[in-house]
Amino acid sequence: MGIANWIEIGRMDELGRMDTPAHRLDARAKAVVTLAFVVIVMSFPRHAVSALTPFLLYPVVLIAVGQIPARHILKKILVAAPFALVIGIFNPFMDRVPVATLGPLVITGGWVSFVSIMFRFVLTVGAALALVACTGLYRLGAGLEQLGVPRVFVMQLLFLYRYLFVVADQGVKMMRGVELRSAGAHALRWRVYGSLIGQLLLRSLDRAERVHGAMLARGFDGKIRVLRQPSFRWTDWGFVGGGLLFLAAARAWNLAEAFGRVLTGMAR
């Protein structure tokens, strides 16, 4: 987690505050469809590749309508890729059953499932990032609360988010101080680390105390009032209905293969 990440998270926050048709959709509608999307993508058998391709449409449409810069999302997907890559790369070595040949290349089942894993990774991560970029954490939190997530947890999420930048800024300042005094060493020595993180913790605790005092001064009674969005509009219902219908259709039929059949049929 480098300092560059903080700029990135600020960028996501900016994107979440834009006003486009995708942003105006109810947070609950987007959350439900995105969750259904991830579950359905992961419910395919492990060698599915072509059947998964139509699913790319969902994150792409959300990103395009929400005017999210695609390069930004792609970069985030690439940065997060190592875990799936490290686990998935074993498939080609474990499963060496040949399933097809492409010219001189023999394709094994392991490679097919590896491609499937990496494609699913792009799909699921892309959908989650698109959801946040088109909603923002505040609206998402309010939506989650309306969906029945415990209030304390939603509050915790919003508070954490609220102070993320403040505490991180403190951390960055302290690191700058250390760097100025320690001639270019990147990682800290043991004793320095303990007291530096300890200091950061103490400052965070002090800040929490001040925040609490300020909240009491403004009449805080232990409850957080989350701004509620107006009720579901017909566009939200349309989004949920259309989204689920598309997901169900793409799960039931291999749309890409049918498309391919039409194409190869036309080629005749």
Binding site: V65, P98, A128, F159, V192, Y193, L200, S204, T264, R268
Partner: protein, 349 residues
């Protein structure tokens, strides 16, 4: 150790969502019952602190590498298990949403692996027992070290079990365990030392910031331990038995699963035969060497071609052509939509 969505089946992801959701609801109720309203800002700021602490690295003595704090155990020492579990869950949620660390479906697994074990196993069963409410003593250092290692080992083991139960990775159980546990032993040592160092510093600099001896009558009670153990046993038992019953043998399972689709996509279907004939004549993809009705000709006879209908012969051409074209189409649709909405914005402004 954040698991990704791409390696988890809906059954495993859903089960762990249910477990973590239940724990979350229970912890939320517990925290609300404490009636400490300063807990709300404290939890929020400490969650932010964990993020900030994770960007500061220290060098691991004797090696060239560096590490950083994970924070699960430290939060539990500072806040107690219930509030700490909520904070860890919120940190993981923000990481999943903003950094693509983990994912939506995997969130339940990640909260369980990285939150349950430090908060409800390592802290009450190991840390409290060894440290006996001391801070900064050698006892406390040992306690943090052992508790962090145990928590991370259990979490890593769970990652392996969840991945195996999902059946998407082909990695054998043994090899996976041998890969994960040693790595997390090292991470556990680092985590334990970092936790102990921070706690020792706070004990020296401002001891009142640490939770002092527990309130009367609440000295290391057996109840949370037993509940924690029982929960862990139930979950482990559930995951393992589910895995054992549905995957008697990885290969048999995959064959049975795939052959279930054979009726639909078998290469012998008339449409496919016709299609393959079309393909042979038009040769749209000349390098693609196979014949309808047979699996890949290069495959040796004993390669069990029948178990691979979803990717074999007849369906492959339309699958590949259709897949590529669908991807292109999806990209095109996105491009057009974006161009249109940009136009509308500039038209408005």
């Amino acid at each position: 150790m954040h698991m990704a969505d791409a390696l988890i089946s809906p059954a495993v992801g859903g089960a762990l969502w249910a477990v973590s959701g239940g724990l979350l609801a229970g912890c939320a109720r517990k925290v609300q019952q404490t009636l400490r309203d300063d807990l709300v800002p404290l939890m929020g700021v400490l969650g932010a602190f964990i993020f900030a602490a994770q960007m500061i690295n220290f060098s691991i003595p004797g090696t060239g590498s560096s590490g950083h704090l994970g924070g699960g155990l430290l939060l539990t020492v500072l806040l107690g298990p219930y509030a700490a579990f909520l904070v860890i869950a919120s940190v993981l949620t923000v990481q999943a949403f903003f950094f693509a660390d983990g994912g939506l479906l995997a969130l339940g697994c990640n909260i369980f692996n990285l939150g349950f074990f430090p908060a409800f196993v390592a802290y009450p069963l190991i840390y409290r027992v060894i440290a006996r409410d001391q801070f900064g003593t050698s006892r406390a250092w040992v306690a943090a070290l052992v508790a962090a290692i145990a928590g991370l080992q259990l979490g890593a083991l769970c990652v392996v079990l969840e991945t195996k139960a999902s059946g998407i990775s082909e990695l054998p159980f043994r090899a996976f365990v041998l890969m994960m546990l040693p790595i997390h032993l090292v991470i556990g040592v680092v985590e334990g030392l970092a936790t102990a160092a921070v706690v020792a510093f706070v004990a020296r600099a401002r001891s009142e910031a640490l939770p002092t001896a527990p309130a009367a009558g609440a000295s290391v009670s057996l109840r949370p331990m037993l509940i924690g153990l029982a929960l862990a046993a139930v979950v482990m038992g559930g995951v393992v038995s589910w895995f054992a019953s549905t995957h008697p043998d990885g290969l048999e399972w995959s064959i049975a699963k795939v052959t279930g689709h054979q009726e639909v996509t078998a290469p012998g279907a008339p449409l496919h035969r016709k299609l393959a004939a079309v393909q042979e004549r038009t040769a749209m993809l000349p390098g693609y060497g196979f014949q309808a009705g047979k699996a890949a000709p290069a495959a040796p006879a004993d390669a069990r071609p029948a178990s691979w209908p979803t990717v074999s012969a007849g369906t492959s051409v339309s699958g590949i052509v259709g897949g590529l074209m669908t991807l292109a189409l999806a990209g095109l649709i996105g491009f057009v939509l974006k161009a249109r909405s940009m136009q509308r914005v500039s038209g408005n402004g």
